[in-house]
């Protein structure tokens, strides 16, 4: 019984958020022009999604975010394992990683614009760049904190460095890798949206937010933001589901 209800737990958060928002807008704590009611936003959301531009923008952003995340994961996971397996290597690259992790991706736009041109590539590569750093950092940490006994066990059984890396370190770092992936996909989404806002794009949720902001169409703006947030939650949920399937042993 209780187990079944657990599937609905995430709704609690949604409902609480909506309730709070409704309260704020019903009480007029924030000017309704600046923060429209959930109903108005939902209407904008619905009409945008149902045949409107928002649906199209949404798909575009999904595509870019997915590309960026996939690229980032493919690059960062092996690299992170490599760095994590050699603490000295990690320490030597730590500066570069922390340096770029702390630099706003938006400040990097001009550079990426020059390197990758003005198309989707730029947006995807800036986002992938940001996500790589986050995933890398988490994977490397996961590997560094792997339980020593297990590494030794594999080593003594004659596992090569590479096998230890893949059979043990990779597995040991999985819980942390998923933290990284979930952070990474959120960051990729954020950067994609910001890139769509500030380097310019014909489409995408960021474009939608930017345009709505310029036009002062607040319901539309919040609808686009909500779409981005929901997308982020969805992508996170995806990773969470994968994690639940694959990482059954954490804390054991």
């Amino acid at each position: 019984m209780i187990r079944r209800l657990d599937a609905f737990l995430p709704l609690v958060g949604v409902v609480a958020l909506l309730a709070f928002w409704s309260l704020v807008s019903a009480r007029g704590w924030v000017d309704p022009v600046l923060l429209p009611s959930p109903a108005a936003t939902f209407k904008a959301f619905w009409s945008g999604m149902d045949g409107g531009a928002l649906g199209f923008d949404f798909v575009k952003t999904v595509y870019r975010t997915t590309m960026a995340t996939v690229i980032a994961a493919v690059i960062a996971i092996p690299l992170g394992i490599m760095l994590g397996s050699s603490e000295r290597l990690y320490r030597s690259l730590e500066f570069v990683i922390d340096f770029f992790r702390s630099t706003p991706a938006s400040a990097m736009f001009p550079l990426f614009l020059v390197l990758f041109g003005v198309g989707d590539e730029t947006k995807i590569s800036v986002a992938a760049f940001g996500a790589i750093l986050v995933i890398l950092f988490n994977v490397a940490y996961g590997v560094m904190n792997a339980r020593k006994t297990r590494l030794l066990a594999a080593k003594v059984m004659g596992a090569s460095r590479l096998r230890v890396l893949f059979d043990v370190m990779l597995r040991e770092s999985l819980p942390q890798t998923f933290v990284g992936l979930r952070n990474g996909v959120s960051l990729a989404l954020v950067i994609i949206v910001v890139a769509e806002m500030f380097i310019g794009s014909q489409d995408g949720l960021g474009h939608s937010v930017f345009e709505a902001q310029q036009l002062f169409d607040m319901p539309r703006m919040y609808a686009a933001i909500a779409a981005a947030g929901a997308l982020g939650y969805g992508l996170n949920l995806l990773f969470l589901t994968i994690e639940r399937r694959f990482v059954h042993w954490s804390g054991k």
Partner: protein
């Protein structure tokens, strides 16, 4: 096949001729197929021009274009510009509705919390205008703010007023959150006459484009000229292209001010003089690092 031209477009009302030329088929009939690349703001456009990723920038703020030309001469050659004046409203001072009774002129902004359109060019222009009406640095506070936040900030009462651009100002008026104090302030205060044309932005080609594909560049400029002509003759009709292509609210399409679209080849010596004066102002406030002869940055076809 048609000649492809890569055009960086910042979708604001200033790029209207571009959209008119597309919609009216002016490019097409000259065998040109423009490729629209949306690029928000000056830095993105300049970077793209410098690396030849675009050949044309549909709207490039004059001071930014001049600056780019200092850094890399010939990177942005203006073929058309548009003037902002008290009539062709763009830059202006506004004030919150609640203070509209007290603030009738710019000088009345004394002691208030002001915002400004972002970037040193805008900020210094605002400060320059305020100085002209006799307000010194400590008489007011001024913060630059992203254009997307201007209406918000007025509505929320975060600021009392400030220096803003279109279509924000019209939106504010329409919503009743702020009132125009005075528009066309560059003409009046910086260039010294309400009649003066403030050529604050325009359409620019790269020298590369002009020299490597002179013929295409010429036809592109001709299409632009035809569009400018059309807008001059049928302003009401031209407006409707704003709604579809630029960030102009549908309900304001008929109200946002138009600009004085001009081809550089058609500029009178007087107008060129205003442009030079404006460029010198840029140098004076440090936005353009050195004095520049505007003749080196305009190109007529």
């Amino acid at each position: 096949a048609q000649d492809k031209v890569k055009v960086g477009v910042f979708p604001i009302s200033s790029s209207l001729p571009y959209f008119v030329a597309i919609e009216k088929g002016y490019f097409k009939k000259r065998n040109i197929e423009p490729e629209t690349i949306k690029l928000m703001g000056g830095p993105a456009n300049v970077a793209a021009l410098m690396t030849n990723q675009i050949e044309v920038s549909a709207v490039l703020v004059t001071l930014e274009g001049l600056n780019a030309n200092v850094k890399k001469p010939g990177v942005a050659m203006y073929i058309a510009m548009h003037s902002q004046t008290p009539e062709y409203k763009m830059e202006q001072f506004v004030v919150r509705t609640g203070l509209a009774d007290k603030v009738k002129t710019i000088a009345d902004l004394k002691g208030l919390k002001l915002m400004s359109a972002p970037g040193p060019a805008n900020l210094n222009t605002a400060k320059g205008v305020l100085a002209k009406v006799g307000l010194k640095d400590g008489d007011y506070t001024i913060d630059q703010l992203d254009m997307g936040q201007h209406v918000n900030a007025m509505k929320a009462g975060t600021f009392d007023g400030g220096y803003t651009l279109e279509p924000g100002a019209t939106i504010m008026e329409k919503m009743g959150v702020a009132k125009r104090v005075e528009a066309g302030v560059i003409s009046t205060y910086i260039l010294g006459s309400p009649k003066a044309d403030a050529f604050a932005a325009g359409c620019a080609f790269t020298t590369d484009f002009i020299t490597k594909r002179p013929d295409v560049a010429k036809r592109f400029a001709e299409s632009w000229a035809e569009a400018v002509d059309y807008i001059k003759k049928n302003p009401a009709d031209a407006r409707k292209y704003l709604a579809k292509n630029t960030m102009t609210p549908d309900n304001l399409v008929d109200e946002v001010p138009m600009l004085g679209y001009t081809m550089t080849k058609d500029m009178s010596p007087e107008q060129l003089g205003y442009l030079q004066k404006f460029a010198d102002f840029g140098t004076a406030i440090g936005v353009v690092p050195e004095k520049i002869d505007i003749k080196t940055v305009v190109k007529g076809f």
